[in-house]
Amino acid sequence: MEHRYEYKTSLWVDWCPGCGNFGILTAVVKAFEELGLDPSKTVIVSGIGCSGKIAHFVNVNGVHTLHGRAIPFAMGIKLANPELTVVVHGGDGDLLGIGAGHFVALGRRNLDIVVIMHNNGVYGLTKGQASPTLPLGVKTKALAKPNIQQAVNPILLALASGYTFVARGYAFEGTHLKNLIKMAIKHRGAAFIDVLQPCVTFNDVFTAEFYRKTIYKLDEDPSWDPVVRKPEEAREKLLNAIERSLEWGDRIPIGIFYVNEYVSTFEERLSKRLYRYPDTNPSNAVIEMNGKPILSQQEFEEIFKDYIVNVEI
């Protein structure tokens, strides 16, 4: 019989009552539970922001990193131990503002990690400044003046960057979101989920009420098939996804935009050139024996012979 884990820590969750993050937390916990993930083999890597605190609330390994840098931390964790399930949580400011460079770079690598973005349109923890997903001209209550920067489109950016699983969820569509998370975890390659997350304290424009009226599920349309089923379809499916990604306002699609498993993952690429990887990997490779290096003097000289000159006497 399978061992059951407790996927929530006992800490008090200090988000504002009504915050969309609660919905995300529940979905994550549920998804982990249903996948039966081993907490000791699972890592949540989070950035700094209200969203980033989630690492403490889930009872798997948690690495609560620096603002904007969760992706590179996650990359090191995953590359060193490819056996781990690594899930990144970040705010929209975290991932698409200060961390946008890493966000793009992860797409290029198609490393097998999941990125879940808590998209609340604001910098929550610093008290409500406009985040990169807040549209131009919008004035939330925390802003003195309407937003002067355009929004970046997270789905489009993810598609342009090369993510091979791109989806959008909504914090208060629990089951739907939980399913997206499960699929993203099962997906081989870089997965991105843009989660619409009401911030009750600072964002009075993109509220639960707003989303209730505007969101619709992509898979309600039976003809919507975002999955690349043979490599030749990739271009067309990508273009379909891009076209859909432009929808915003009256009707906001949630669900899967694009899935392509025909792109090699970074781990696969590495294993092609790095013998024994990923089975032997940085976290389990033997590097010492009884406090000594694994190489003997003679073996050392053998390996580095190109640097050694035997004096001709």
Binding site: P39, S40, K41, I48, A55, H56, N59, V60, N61, G62, V63, H64, T65, L66, R69, P72, F73, A74, M75, G76, I77, K78, L79, A80, N81, E83, L84, G101, H102, V104, A105, L270, Y275, R276, Y277, T280, N281, P282, S283, A285, V286, I287, G291, K292, P293, I294, L295, Q297, E299, F300, E301, I303, D306, Y307, I308, V309, N310, V311, E312, I313
Partner: protein, 634 residues
């Protein structure tokens, strides 16, 4: 001669690095000691670059000096730039096709430099044309001109082997190697060995270059042995020929690094390429690796991913130089706050900002020691030469893991790009200490406060769950703002410094050389070591000098330092550094209260050479100068 100094000069891209490697191996094969610094512009093709080399028949040399016996030039710019660096009775090797070149027709010379050289030549009454300069050297300086028709020789070669004339330029490096070998009397078989080692993977180049050697020999046979080097008597039967980048890379592999991240930057990147070359190896059925060498999108990702890899249990490091380190500072403070063992190999180059990206400096000491907000334990370790760099690299990982702290291994461009002959490292002397590791059950506390060092588990260890947070945290790693917890956790992280100072052996803290009852003590760190040791040796007949090579720069080994200088009044301490401020003196003042007032500084980006160092020490000791600023070298 017992020792010979050489400058090989030519445009960037002409293959001087190859010449250096071939000549280095060839000389080592016969049993000579070699050291060679490479000077080049931040440029890919065309700017003036040169190799400054010293060959010794009696020892493994550790510093360079001016003037040199041989100036071997590929182009006219080399002659203009270095004509003044050749000793009387030395030789100058040049391409006769350059004889009519006027300095005004060499666009690659910087205007500033051109004007400087023209002024100098004008004072000597020499017009700025190569043939006049060569004439001047021969007549006024008794320097032998060795003229070679580069064009003709290479034409012969390309014809013989039907080489595409567009490939002709790649033979210039072999030509210059051949010429120098002939002049110093290095036998063909050694030169051949050098070519063989260098071109292992392109055998046709070996054949061509040996033929080239013969053509050059035909052309200048009469100069064979004209500056002959004595037969070697060093007595080692094996030598390693490595750059600083290489030796650190090799040491990291021995240390067990399994994750190395980098973002390309001079002069650090070559280290990562060498590790990559050895990313997986098998010997006696034993796997060494795999090592993940990761080119990240920037230095922020380099440090953050290295920290991540460390959390997963990998020995993990990154390598960079000043601009990159600046970007790593926030990550460094995360490592400090979360007690993460990670090694940052920091190769200093000329700053501030992009500065002099391909020139050397030691001006980042304070940055390495103090950058990052908040207080926490970091270790800053420096190495004085290639041999130290090897052992210190391994020690850096040991310290990092034993004390769960970030370690900065502070090196510089001089070391990075200098090729040196060293004894083969003694692997038996190497220890690997991974520190306190646990694999115990569910109630694991990553930051257990019962000891300064909390037992470490890796992400992924069975049945263990843990948390890390850049926020102040409790023993489990969860955010806590309670002031009492803060006091304990903050103190714990800082107080490891005491432990490190207590437990680190003296030889990792510092090296002490020279006279036990010195008149003067010279203090330096890093790349100053070789030239300092040669200086105290050279002056030993007239002065009792001692050199202290500071290695553990932070936490500063106050106790031992004070013990060593206790009989030396502070006016008799001289600090030397490749910087403006000679900042080690500030660090000493801060950590020990000893005020060093005598300083030798160089910050032109070029290394301190023996001649200037000796002069500087003499000026301080005999002429009572306090602050000597050096500037020799093009």
């Amino acid at each position: 001669m017992k020792e010979i100094g050489i400058i090989l000069g030519g445009p960037q891209g002409a293959g001087l690095e190859t010449s250096m490697a071939v000549l280095g191996r060839a000389l080592a094969r016969k049993g000579y000691g070699v050291i060679a610094d490479r000077e080049y512009f931040s440029n890919i093709t065309g700017r003036h670059s040169y190799i400054h080399m010293l060959i010794s028949s009696t020892r493994l040399p550790r510093s360079l000096r001016y003037p040199v016996e041989i100036l071997a030039s590929i182009d006219a710019e080399t002659i203009f730039t270095h004509f003044d660096d050749v000793v009387e009775k030395g030789v100058v090797i040049y391409d006769e096709n350059q004889l009519n070149k006027n300095i005004d027709n060499i666009p690659s010379i910087e205007d500033y430099t051109r004007e400087k050289i023209k002024t100098k030549l004008a004072k000597l009454g020499v017009s700025p044309v190569i043939k006049n300069v060569v004439d001047y050297l021969e007549k006024e300086r008794n320097i032998k001109p060795i003229e070679i028709d580069f064009t003709y020789i290479i034409k012969l070669l390309t014809q013989r082997f039907k080489i595409d004339p567009r490939q002709a330029s790649r033979y210039v490096s072999g030509l210059i190697v051949s010429a120098v070998s002939i002049v110093i009397g290095l036998e063909e078989k050694f030169v051949k060995y050098g070519f063989e080692q260098q071109f292992r993977e392109r055998r046709y180049l070996i054949e061509h270059n040996i033929a080239l050697y013969e053509l050059v020999n035909d052309s200048i046979a009469r100069f064979r042995n004209i500056v002959k080097i004595d037969e070697p008597k060093i007595g080692l039967n094996k030598l390693m020929i490595v750059t600083g980048n290489d030796v650190v890379a090799i040491a990291k592999i021995v240390a067990g690094v399994r994750y190395q991240s980098y973002y390309p930057i001079t002069p650090a990147a070559d280290e990562s390429f060498t590790i990559e070359k050895y990313e997986y190896n098998e010997v006696n059925g034993k796997a060494v690796g795999p090592i993940v060498v990761m080119q990240t999108e920037d230095e922020i990702a380099a440090i953050c991913s290295a920290i991540g890899a460390s959390l997963s249990g990998s020995r993990s490091s990154t390598a960079t130089s000043g601009p990159g380190f600046d970007l790593m500072v926030e990550g460094l403070s995360f490592a400090g706050a979360n007690e993460v063992p990670v090694v940052i190999t920091y190769y200093q180059r000329g700053g501030p900002s992009t500065g002099q990206p391909t020139r050397g400096s030691q001006s980042d000491l304070m940055n390495a020691v103090f950058a990052a907000h908040g207080e926490f334990t970091r270790v800053v370790l420096s190495s004085g030469d290639h041999v130290e760099a090897f052992y210190d690299t391994i020690e850096a990982f040991n310290i990092a893991e034993k004390y769960q702290v970030p370690v900065i291994h502070l090196l510089d461009k001089f070391l990075a790009n200098t090729i040196a002959s060293i004894p083969v490292p003694d692997i038996d002397k190497v220890r690997i200490d991974r520190g306190k590791i646990v694999f115990n059950g569910p109630s694991y506390k990553r930051f257990d406060l019962s000891n300064l060092i909390s037992p470490r588990a890796y992400l992924g260890s069975d049945n263990i769950v843990m948390w890390y947070s850049g926020d102040e945290h409790d023993e489990y790693g969860h955010i806590v703002e309670d002031p009492e917890n803060r006091l304990k956790m903050y103190s714990k992280r800082i107080e490891k410094m005491k432990l490190i100072l207590e437990e680190t052996p003296l030889d990792i803290k510092m090296g002490i050389y020279g006279d036990k009852n010195p008149d003067y003590v010279i203090i330096g760190w890093g790349s100053v070591k070789g030239v300092a040791l040669d200086t105290i040796e050279t002056l030993s007949s007239k002065l009792r000098l001692r050199y202290i090579n500071m290695k553990l720069l932070w936490p500063f080994p106050r106790k031992e330092f004070l013990e060593i200088v206790k009989d030396t009044p502070s006016e008799r301490i001289i600090a030397v550094e490749h910087s403006y401020g000679v900042n080690i003196a500030s660090l000493i003042a801060m950590a020990t209260g000893v005020t060093v007032t005598k300083k030798i500084a160089k910050f032109t980006g070029r290394p301190i050479t023996l001649n200037e160092m000796i002069e500087a020490v003499e000026r301080i000791i005999f002429k009572n100068e306090r602050h000597v600023v050096l500037s020799y070298g093009a």
